[in-house]
Point group: C2
Chain length 886, copies 2
């Protein structure tokens, strides 16, 4: 016969922490604690197999469960001495869900089960505390009525409020036993009215009702959505824990509390937590009374007495249990405990949530303490969480006046004056003002404004829109897709439903949460601890996947090195053309009608571009630098609007009509799919020739001024469709190299490769690999084309897609492994089959996403490249991928 449940308590258990799949997290840990001899109220866990059977059988329980449940109750009765439904010494139990994965607050719980009119009276008599007994009974009716019987929670609350109002009482603890009894009668009338049946008095009926309700809650809307979002299979099911109640609210020798075995904010090794005398667990959370700290080590602004002084023996016992649990589990624990009449009971233990800073310190300390090895320590810090450490953040204690919400596109926080154009941002920043750039969206023309601004706020665009990508690259906080604001750039205002913000008004941007706040909220600067350096060092020892950064400015390149990048995986040469001085020559080049005109303008750009490379190669001495030749559509560089066109006409000495006509001629309906990338190199070879020349001349210049180590040149051709383009352009580059060598002598070795960013290129990877030394997956564009989604336009529907579960996560943030991933894998295989020396990397936004990094590691990529601020995340995620694989 299948064993449908496992008992625990009384110093032994039928289960253990290893049986998480069968018993859920809570049940497994209760069993483990009981096995370890800790004081756990006895109980049993109805397994997840019952859940599966229940749903497979049209929400009916297996026949043999009833007998086993009876035996389980007898187990509890045997240890506690109390009896279920007995009015002299009634056994009360809690009924709680507990699934394999933590799903906080998603499913239901019933406490104080077993109370009815008779057992409540018996409890009052036995404890000599009628107030306690009837308070427990009314709590039970309220909770059971809501969870099991489906009576609206608010109706109970309304009756409670009315009673307290009539009695002129503020706190529940001031309500007398008699008054509770009166409320209980009102509750029962309410239930009868709503259900046409009395509140169930039979404890066994209550028990089955509660167990059914907990299982049913596995399928409630919240739980289904949560599972969809976190990819938890429905088939896992939940377990149900039935456990003897213990009471922290039976008098002054009772208490209830939560404790972390270390400080979850700082990671410091000290017991950290809160408790309340004479209270039930939910009171600590509810915030009606202010909980007191456990000890004087903890932050204590109430001056209330600490557990260490009020219950010194309990405190010592708790500290002892905490130490043992932490040593046993090898991780910081989050503990729930109750003190009933001077006896400590343990109700829960689990790995405690912590800040990134704490996670780092705890992981490193546990290694120092000999509890963990380095590999395990590296897995203990969520890579993504490092983001918190790398950007300034808002003081969490400051009051927040949120006026709009958008997408948390780039984390961190900043305060500044709202400005509505990039030029204005630059002007004010030059005067030392902190500004926030507010735009419907940004384009490469806004780079200077974004650089000048402390943060960027856009009403359009998604998590990987231009604004988002550039902001993350620059480490600027950014909120995109703030659909609820209406920007009137001409009037220099933006409006929410309630507020209008004018140019110069102070706002705060919380890029971590995607919140726009009115006024100035104080921020906190990041500090990188010694633990950070230590753990990252371990990660670097473990990982085999290289980590580079996407960077083109000296500042970004230096930041990237500081954060441990092993080279540049993507230098976007077009970003070098937006400088005010250069854009003129760039525009002159674009407006030229023919190759000769273009060459004249390119000759002016050559020394500037060469100088950029000189700086970059100097900073990245000895490391690889992947330089992507011009990629975006030319019209991105052109002026928009008549006044800008007039400026350009003046600067280039062209007739205004001609400028306008040429701008119109270059306009594209879908520039993402237009005349860009290597298509420019094919149609206007002089552009790539200039760039190749600038690269080669720069590398020789750097060597001549005596920089000891040479950067390793990797020249990258974007947007190829197949091998012909790379063959033609490789030849062009080699011809330039030959010419320069003939004049200036031997060049250092360089390699030529390509972006794989079109589905066709992924499929033709074998052909392409014939002519390419490396592939770099441009997963941003590959996602755009594979999914047919423009990242700049996705905001209008991506949110509803993610919400309806059509995507687990935004595919621009985390690689769509089932679709785009197949193309990446195919290209890796076909490319390496053709050319076993092929170097493989990825330079899309996904290069900084841990889940994507795991996939790239599995595909056998040599490196990932991401924005400088995500380099530490990538280093850690790469190490974790390595560990996960071995």
């Amino acid at each position: 016969m299948t064993r449908w449940l496992r008992t625990f308590g009384g110093g032994a258990s039928e289960g253990s922490a290893k049986m998480r799949d069968l018993l859920g997290g809570k049940g497994a840990n209760l069993a483990e604690m009981a096995n370890l001899g800790f004081p756990v109220p006895p109980g049993f866990t109805v397994t997840t197999e019952v859940c599966s059977a229940y749903f497979a059988n049209g929400r009916n329980f297996p026949e043999t469960l009833a007998g086993q449940m009876e035996a389980g109750m007898r187990h509890i009765e045997g240890i506690t001495g109390a009896r279920f439904g007995n009015k002299v010494n009634p056994l009360l139990v809690s009924v709680r869900s507990g699934s394999r994965a933590s799903m906080p607050g998603m499913m239901d719980t019933v406490l104080n089960l077993g109370l009815n009119d008779e057992t409540a009276a018996g409890l009052a008599e036995r404890t000599g505390d009628a107030r306690f007994a009837y308070d427990s009974y009314r709590r039970f009716i309220q909770m059971y009525g809501d969870v099991v019987l489906g009576v609206n929670h608010q109706e109970f609350e309304d009756l409670l409020e009315r009673t307290k109002h009539e009695l002129n009482i503020d706190l529940d603890t001031d309500v007398s036993a008699k008054n509770w009894q009166g409320l209980i009668e009102e509750y029962k009338v309410l239930v009868n009215k709503r259900l046409d049946a009395p509140f169930p008095q039979d404890p066994v009926e209550q028990l089955w009702g509660a167990v059914s309700a907990v299982f049913d809650s596995w399928m409630n809307h919240r739980a289904v959505t949560y599972r969809m979002l976190y990819d938890i299979p429905e088939s896992w099911g939940t377990a149900v824990n039935i456990q003897a109640m213990v009471f922290g609210n039976m008098g002054a020798d009772c208490a209830t509390g939560v404790a972390f075995t270390r400080d979850p904010s700082s990671g410091d090794k000290r017991l950290y937590g809160e408790y309340l005398i004479n209270a039930q667990g939910e009171d600590v959370v509810a915030g009606i009374r202010t909980p007191q700290p456990l000890n004087t080590d903890s932050y204590n602004n109430s001056g209330a007495p600490v557990l260490a002084s009020t219950m010194p023996k309990i405190y010592i016992e708790l500290q002892d249990v905490a130490d043992q649990l932490e040593a046993h589990y090898g991780d910081m624990q989050d503990i729930e405990f109750t003190v009933q009449q001077g006896k400590l009971w343990m109700l829960q233990t689990r790995a405690g949530k912590r800040t990134a800073a704490a996670a780092l310190k705890i992981a490193v300390d546990l290694v120092t303490e000999g509890v963990l090895d380095k590999e395990s320590a590296v897995t203990r810090v969520e890579a993504e969480s490092l983001e918190q450490l790398l950007h300034p953040r808002l003081d969490p204690d400051a009051p927040r006046n949120v006026i709009a919400r958008g997408l948390p596109a780039s984390p961190g926080a900043a305060v500044g004056k709202a400005v509505f154009s990039s030029d204005r941002a630059e002007d004010l920043a030059a005067k030392g003002e902190a500004v926030i750039l507010v735009r419907p969206e940004t384009s490469p023309e806004d780079i200077h404004g974004m650089h000048a601004a402390r943060a960027i706020l856009t009403s359009r665009g998604g998590m990987t829109s231009h604004a988002a990508v550039v902001a993350r690259g620059m480490g600027r906080p950014c909120i995109t897709g703030t659909m609820e604001i209406r920007i009137d750039a001409a009037a220099k205002t933006f409006a929410t439903n309630t507020e209008t913000i004018r140019e110069g008004d102070l706002i705060t941007v919380d890029g971590t949460l995607g919140e726009v706040l009115k006024g100035e909220i104080p921020t906190i600067e990041p500090e990188l601890s010694g633990a950070f350096e230590t753990l990252m060092g371990w990660a670097d020892e473990i990982r085999t996947l290289g980590v580079r950064a996407n960077a083109e400015t000296p500042h970004d390149a230096a930041t990237a090195r500081k954060f441990g990048a092993e080279g540049i995986g993507l230098c976007r040469t077009e970003h070098m053309f937006f400088d005010a001085e250069r854009i003129i020559s760039m525009r002159e080049m674009i407006l030229a009608e023919d190759s000769v005109g273009r060459q004249v303008a390119l000759a002016k750009l050559l020394p500037m571009q060469r100088q950029d490379f000189v700086e970059l190669f100097t900073i990245m001495a000895g490391l690889p630098v992947t330089i992507r030749l011009l990629d975006p559509p030319l019209h991105e560089f052109l002026p928009h609007g008549e006044s800008e066109m007039r400026e350009v006409a003046e600067a280039t000495a062209l007739p205004f009509q001609e400028v306008r006509a040429r701008v119109e001629q270059l306009r594209e309906n879908n520039p993402m799919l237009g005349h860009r990338g290597c298509r420019l190199g094919i149609s206007h070879p002089e552009i790539y020739e200039m760039q190749a020349r600038a690269i080669f001349e720069a590398i020789l210049d750097v060597a001549e001024v005596g920089v000891a180590k040479t950067a390793v040149l990797e020249i990258m051709i974007p947007l190829v469709l197949g091998s012909p383009e790379i063959k033609i352009l490789r030849k062009l580059i080699e011809d330039v190299a030959d010419e320069i060598e003939s004049v200036r002598g031997t060049l250092p070795p360089y390699i030529v490769g390509t972006m794989i960013e079109l589905p066709r290129a992924a499929l033709r990877a074998d052909d392409i690999a014939e002519a390419a030394d490396f592939f770099s997956f441009g997963t941003n564009d590959l996602t755009q084309t594979s999914l047919g989604i423009s990242r700049d336009d996705a905001a209008s529907f991506m949110d509803s897609y993610v919400r309806q579960g059509l995507f687990e996560r935004d595919p621009f943030a985390s690689l769509d492994i089932g679709g785009v991933g197949e193309l990446v894998e195919t290209a890796c295989k076909r490319g390496r089959r053709q050319n076993s020396d092929l170097k493989l990397g990825i330079c899309g936004e996904h290069g900084g996403d841990p889940a994507s990094i795991r996939f790239f590691h599995q595909c056998g990529l040599n490196y990932v490249s991401c924005s400088p601020y995500r380099v530490p995340i990538a280093r850690l995620a790469a190490a974790q991928a390595q560990i996960g694989r071995d």
Copy 2:
């Protein structure tokens, strides 16, 4: 020892027509004719293997070739009695290329080889015709000098012109022997000056020079480009034919001519061709003298005597040879012949080029005559060529004043007044004027103008731009991407480099050639012959691939049926919303801020859309109709420019500011990759609900008015990424159906399927097939996304890509089999593996392209769907694909 050559002539050959790969087309057919006993001047063919060996070995010949060449020359000498280099009876030979595939004019030829100062004198003496001998010698120096020695052709021409000018002579035939001798001396001086060496007098040296030159021409720029364009492998190589010269220019009993065994324009069975008395072959082509017809059956505007009367015996012999050759090859032949001193010589035979009309008639007649079976006949007509028959075309004899060239986007020709807006086009057309719509590009807002116009001309866009696709669908001639014209819509003019065309000026559009002509050129209406119907009937018997049409208007649907479509494969419902009356409600719907507002507007659209379907289902009674739910981005329906927005504001009673703001809000950077397709259905379900309702109500309405056969409903959901979208939207459709059934009774059966038009969808085809009854490949969008090319923006670089051989053909015209094709194949396999009943079709532009149809047939698709005017092409191509496969 490898046999490097094969001899022919004297009633026998070492080769035959089957050895085309080794001997090339010309050599194989010469061998075949000699085998058949026809009078072929003797010669030999140096095989394509020599070509391969020559290039593999650094342009050196195999050592053993020299001996075999000598033997080959001896073979010719044996039959002719003449001797190579002998001054008494000199043998002259021609040296011609001849590859496996016809590459007309791409490679080089040398005639009259073997002449030098001595043999020329000998020839003069032997023939008694010094003028002939020295004319031949100067021709040889000129040709050899150009082809083998690399002296500029024009320099010889200049000397010839000067001589004729000095002699005051117009025709070459009037130049005397003495004058030719003088010119020959000048030629020799020229050669000596250019080469620093005399013109080679040794015939053997001449021969090797010519053979090398012909092989070298396999790698000349023209030939390389041609091979790239027509996908002819370089490895095939060319053969070289060395053959005894015969002379049609030795007197009045000599002639040269070309003959088709049937009329290549009409296909009528009669010898058709031209000849010249006392001339060499090149004279017929050169057009200096006007050739004479072979017989009185042929069109004869010169009144010159026909061969049948001037050389009656030769004519009868020629007719006999022609009949035998046609019977032997089973196809109409294109023959070259020469008459030397009363004797007929056959110099070439090959399948003759013909018009589509002739191809049809000849194929059908050959079956009637018992020469061919039906299957072979079906393969004899190039499917693509039917296009010529289906659209009006320009009178080929009219003079043409071409002012600009663009892409031949939709064939046929039309004359009309240039107009520069769709409204203007409609106004003038309503007054009975023929107009040509000239726009930078078109959008769905131009549909009414395109319908009103006789043809469309755009300066932007490619072969599958909006203008091109819609024009082909409507059967309107169209030229797109006419980059060399500058349109000033405000001024209502367009300018070329030389001309300015104003509104109202008459222009002619030749959509077949992509030429814009000034003024009116007369056009010819198409006529579908009985042969057309007969051959299409055979094609229908053979093919297994279904052919449907893309159509939504009653007119298009009726046209489609007329051309033999077996249903509608794509009804684009959005095309139904552009009517002036409807666009208002459509705009109201789009401008609505919420679902309720949208529903109000949709309620107005419902009866209109329903009525459209009623008409369509009535026309397509009994046939499948695939209806695609709304696909394009909503902003396509919105007004552009302030004045249009003001109109809309008035019509919808919305404030102008709000209209402008909403238009701005809906604007997308890359609408192709934006909020469109099923994304609209997911975010605005009420739109698809209305459409489903209109479809189901219409099908019941049609049944109620007594249309006997019910159209077979196939509802198609566009732009899905994976299975969740189709599951959600299928449910939505089924819910509407259930509701209608509950009110009006049982609906006829319907199926729900999806477009596969995104790479991800192709990869996830297995998941999608779980929820879809059919796939229809949207290869336009699949090409756009797989290749990352917007068809609207491709004109600026696609041309240079095709020209540089980066694409064999425009991938929007002919499927990119190596890239997009793999996705189609993968989706077919995965889809059918999941759902063996899955119906597969294609509704992109490629559904009308023969090469693509062959691929789709191989993939196992059930049908292709194309524009109505391409339905016959698809039917024929489908039959040819079937034959090719079996």
